[in-house]
C-alpha cells in the first residue's frame, strides 16, 4: 500500500518508545542487564514510526547492510519470525548488535527522523526481534548448502570469527573455530559485562553456530598450541585470523606497577570471563576498590567504571584528558554511567601514581588540561594548564586507554606481513593477507574498533574465502 503524505506526517508524531530499564539506584549494585527490552506492543508501536524510505539511509549506515526498513516493517506487521529471518540474512549476531552497536553514529545517526526529532530505535528493534526468536522461536536453523568437503579454520571466536564461521558453515564448508580462552565468544565474553550483554545470549549464539555444524575448540592458542602451517598440514584449506587486538596499553607514567593498577583487559576478564564478582563463590579474585579511578573514556572505560560501581565502590571517577565531545564511548553507555553515579573528570591528565610502603596504590597526581589546536586525529589536542597539579585519592586504577597488536600469533608466523603498528596487513575489500589461504579481519587488522566493524570485515572475508574455496586464490 502506498503511503500518503498525511499518514507519514502522522507517523512522525508518535514519540520514540522509551526502553524500559532497571532503576539506576538498584542496578548500580547488581550485574543484571540494564535495559529490559521492548514488549511486542512497544516494538510494534516503535516499528510504526519508520517512514519506510525509498532510499533508506539507515541501510547505508549499517556496516553489514541489514535491510532495516524491511525487518521493521515485518515487526510492525507482527511477523517477528519473519523479521529475525530477514536480519539473519545479513547479520549473524543480532541479539549482540542490538545491544552493543553504536547506533547513533550508524543506522540511527542517518535516520531521516533524526533530522527533526528522535530516530527510529533501530537497535532496540533489532534486539527485540532476536530476543523474541530466542525466547519464543521454533529454533529452526537457516538453510545450509550441500557439504563441500572443504575444511576451514577460524582463529578466534569473537564477533568477526563467529561471523566468518556462520557464513561459511551455511555455504556448506566444514568449519572449526579455535579459541585461546577456555570459553568461546572473545570480547563478547571476556570484555563486555553481563549487565550490558548477558553471557547466556553469547552462549546461545555459539550454540546456534554449533547446531548448524561448526565445531568450536577452546584452549587452542594458535601460534603456540598449533601454528598456521600446522593447520594447513592438518588439512585445513583456508584460515581466518580474527584474534583481536589484545595487547593492553598503559600510560607509562611513574608508579604504574603498584598493586591496585590493572589494565581494563585484566579487570574485565576477571569480572566477566572468570566471574570474579562472585568471589569467593568462584575462585578468581578481583580487587574491590573503595575509590576507583578509570583512565580513558571509551566503551571499555565505561564498562570498567560501571563494573567497579557494582563491586561496591564508594566513588568511581572517569579521568580523561580531552573533553566530553571527544569521549569515544557510545552515548547510551555514558548516559547509563552518569545515571549510576560515575563522576567525570574531563580535561584531566594523570601524571603519576602514588603508593604506600607495601607497594599499594593510594592516589594519583593529575594535571588540568585545556584544548589547543587539532592533532593528527583531527581532535583538538589537550595541553596542560600551568601549575594546575592536584592529587586524587584512589585505591584502584583501571587503565582503559586502548590496545595494541598482540604479537603472539604474528611473531610465530613470519610470512604474515604487518603494518608499522604491527597489525596484520589485509586487503580491506577481501581480508586477504600476504599468505596464500590466510585471511584476517577485526581488531588485529584495524586496531581496536567495534563489534559491528569486526563483523563487517568477517562478512567480506567470508565471501572471499568462499570464492577461493570454490574457484581458487
Amino acid at each position: 500500500m502506498k503511503e500518503t503524505k498525511a499518514s507519514k506526517g502522522k507517523k512522525a508524531t508518535i514519540p520514540r518508545q522509551p526502553m524500559p530499564a532497571q532503576d539506576s539506584d538498584v542496578r548500580r549494585r547488581n550485574f543484571d542487564e540494564v535495559p529490559l527490552g521492548y514488549t511486542p506492543e512497544t516494538a510494534r508501536a516503535e516499528a510504526a514510526r519508520c517512514l519506510q524510505c525509498r532510499k533508506p539511509a539507515c541501510v547505508e549506515g549499517c556496516p553489514v547492510g541489514v535491510d532495516i526498513p524491511a525487518f521493521i516493517h515485518l515487526i510492525k506487521e507482527g511477523d517477528f519470525t519473519g523479521a529475525i529471518r530477514n536480519i539473519w540474512g545479513k547479520n549473524a549476531l543480532p541479539a549482540v548488535c542490538g545491544r552493543v552497536c553504536p547506533q547513533e553514529i550508524q543506522c540511527e545517526g542517518v535516520c531521516i527522523l533524526a533530522k527533526k526529532g528522535d530516530p527510529v530505535a533501530i537497535g532496540h528493534l533489532e534486539r527485540f526481534a532476536a530476543d523474541y526468536e530466542r525466547l519464543n522461536g521454533s529454533g529452526e536453523l537457516p538453510p545450509r548448502a550441500e557439504p563441500t568437503g572443504k575444511k576451514v579454520a577460524v582463529v578466534g571466536s569473537g564477533p568477526s570469527g563467529l561471523t566468518v564461521a556462520g557464513d561459511l558453515v551455511q555455504k556448506g564448508h566444514d568449519v572449526t573455530v579455535l579459541e585461546a580462552f577456555h570459553k568461546p565468544g572473545g570480547v563478547l565474553v571476556y570484555g563486555i559485562p553481563e549487565f550490558r550483554l548477558p553471557k547466556e545470549i553469547v552462549a546461545q549464539e555459539i550454540n546456534f553456530l554449533e547446531r548448524q555444524g561448526a565445531r568450536v575448540e577452546c584452549n587452542q592458542v594458535v601460534g603456540r598450541t598449533v601454528s598456521i602451517e600446522e593447520l594447513f598440514a592438518e588439512g585445513y584449506q583456508a584460515v581466518y585470523l580474527g584474534v583481536g587486538a589484545g595487547l593492553p596499553r598503559f600510560l607509562n607514567i611513574p608508579g604504574e606497577n603498584l598493586i591496585g593498577i590493572l589494565s581494563a583487559n585484566e579487570y574485565l576478564t576477571r569480572a566477566n570471563l572468570m566471574k570474579a564478582y562472585l568471589f569467593p563463590k568462584v575462585d578468581t579474585p578481583i580487587p574491590r576498590g573503595k575509590h576507583v579511578v578509570v583512565l580513558g573514556a571509551g566503551n571499555v572505560a565505561m564498562d570498567s567504571a560501571r563494573t567497579a560501581m557494582r563491586l561496591g565502590a564508594e566513588s568511581v571517577k572517569i579521568v580523561y584528558r580531552r573533553s566530553r565531545e571527544e569521549m569515544p564511548a557510545r552515548a547510551e553507555e555514558i548516559h547509563h554511567a552518569e545515571e549510576e553515579g560515575i563522576e567525570f573528570f574531563l580535561l584531566t591528565n594523570p601524571t603519576k601514581y602514588i603508593g604506600d610502603e607495601k607497594g599499594r596504590l593510594t592516589g594519583m597526581e593529575c594535571l588540568r588540561m585545556e584544548l589547543g589546536e587539532p592533532d593528527d586525529s583531527g581532535r583538538r589536542r589537550p595541553v596542560p594548564v600551568d601549575s594546575s597539579e592536584f592529587a586524587m585519592d584512589c585505591d584502584l586504577a583501571i587503565v582503559a586507554v586502548g590496545s595494541g597488536a598482540n604479537p603472539l600469533l604474528t611473531q610465530s608466523t613470519p610470512d604474515l606481513e604487518l603494518n608499522k603498528w604491527e597489525y596484520i596487513e589485509a586487503d580491506p575489500e577481501t581480508g586477504k593477507t600476504s599468505m596464500r589461504g590466510v585471511w584476517a579481519g577485526g581488531d588485529i587488522v584495524t586496531g581496536a574498533a567495534t563489534v559491528i566493524l569486526a563483523m563487517g570485515a568477517g562478512r567480506k572475508a567470508a565471501d572471499s574465502m568462499h570464492k577461493y574455496l570454490t574457484w581458487g586464490w
Partner: protein, 276 residues
C-alpha cells in the same frame, strides 16, 4: 577434559605431582614453557611451568606447592579425575646453548621447573653443576632426577637436616670460586633468585631466572604479569617467563605477588576449603 594419569605427593601433603593427558601440548612443549590449568567451571586459571613432557604418551607433568585456594583444590584431584582446562605450551622456551660449565640453582618447587632445563643443558654438552635446596629434607624434591640430569649435584637444607647446612647461595659462592662458571640458571622463590643474581652479577656471570607472577590469560592480553626488566615493562607470559636475572626488579615482583594475599587468606580461613 584433561585426565590425571599419575599423582604423587612428593612431600608430606604440600608438594604434588600430576601427570596429565594433554597430547597437543606434550607434542609442542619445550623446556622452560608453562601451561595454565583450571580445575573446574568456577576455577581460577593457574600458570605452572612444566617439569616434564612425554610426547609419546601424550602427557605433561606439573609439580606444584599447595599455597592457596586453587592449589588446595588441585590437591583434591586424584588419578582418573580431570582438569577442565589445560592451555599451552605458553611462554618462550629456554635458550639452551653450549657454553662450558653451567650452574643450575633450584629452590623449593623451582627444582621441578629446573629439571628439564638442566637436562637440556647437559644433553647439548655443557658441564652441569646443580645446586638444589629446601627448607628441610622432607621438603626436598626430585633429588634423583636432578642427579641424573647433571654431572655434579649439591644439596642443601636451611635447617641442616640433609646435605649442606645453609642456603643454595652459600654453595653457589663456593662453586664459583673453584669453577669457571659461564652461565647460571636460577629458579625458585623470588628472594633466592634475587640473591643468586646479586652474587653472579658481581662476577659478571650471565644468569637466567624464571618468573611466575600473577597472570590471567597467559597470552599477553591482561598485562597482570608485567615485570620491570632493566626499568622497562615486560609481560612474563609472552616476553618470558625467563629473563636476564641481572635486570629484574625483584622487590617489585615480590610486592606484586602479594596482591591477592588478603583474599587468599580470607578464603583459606573461611568456608571455601570445605567444599573440597
Amino acid at each position: 577434559m584433561f585426565k590425571i594419569v599419575k599423582r604423587e605427593e612428593m612431600t608430606a601433603g604440600s608438594v604434588i605431582l600430576n601427570e596429565i593427558e594433554a597430547p597437543a601440548i606434550a607434542r609442542k612443549a619445550q623446556p622452560g614453557q608453562f601451561v595454565i590449568l583450571k580445575a573446574n567451571e568456577d576455577g581460577e586459571r593457574i600458570p605452572l611451568t612444566m617439569a616434564e613432557t612425554n610426547p609419546d604418551q601424550g602427557t605433561i607433568t606439573v609439580i606444584y606447592m599447595v599455597v592457596g585456594k586453587s592449589t588446595a583444590l588441585f590437591k583434591t584431584l586424584q588419578v582418573g579425575d580431570s582438569y577442565q582446562d589445560v592451555i599451552g605450551p605458553l611462554g618462550k622456551p629456554t635458550h639452551v646453548e653450549k657454553v662450558g660449565t653451567v650452574v643450575c640453582v633450584g629452590g623449593g618447587t623451582g627444582v621441578a621447573v629446573l629439571h628439564p632445563i638442566t637436562r637440556a643443558l647437559k644433553d647439548i654438552g655443557n658441564n652441569v653443576i646443580c645446586i638444589i635446596g629446601a627448607r628441610s629434607q622432607d621438603l626436598l624434591i626430585m633429588e634423583d632426577h636432578m642427579r641424573a640430569a647433571s654431572h655434579d649435584l649439591r644439596v642443601c637444607t636451611d635447617d641442616g637436616s640433609y646435605g649442606h647446612h645453609g642456603f643454595v647461595t652459600d654453595v653457589l659462592k663456593q662453586v664459583m670460586e673453584t669453577e669457571d662458571v659461564k652461565q647460571v640458571v636460577a629458579i625458585g622463590p623470588v628472594p633466592m633468585m634475587k640473591f643468586v643474581a646479586e652474587i653472579t652479577k658481581e662476577k659478571e656471570v650471565p644468569t637466567i631466572v624464571s618468573l611466575n607472577p600473577i597472570m590471567v590469560d597467559g597470552t599477553g592480553m591482561c598485562g597482570g604479569c608485567r615485570v620491570s626488566i632493566a626499568g622497562e615493562n615486560k609481560f612474563a607470559c609472552v616476553d618470558g617467563p625467563e629473563f636476564d636475572g641481572h635486570q629484574v626488579d625483584y622487590d617489585e615482583l615480590m610486592q606484586r605477588l602479594q596482591a591477592y594475599c588478603e583474599d587468599e587468606q580470607a578464603c583459606m580461613d573461611g568456608d571455601c576449603l570445605i567444599r573440597s
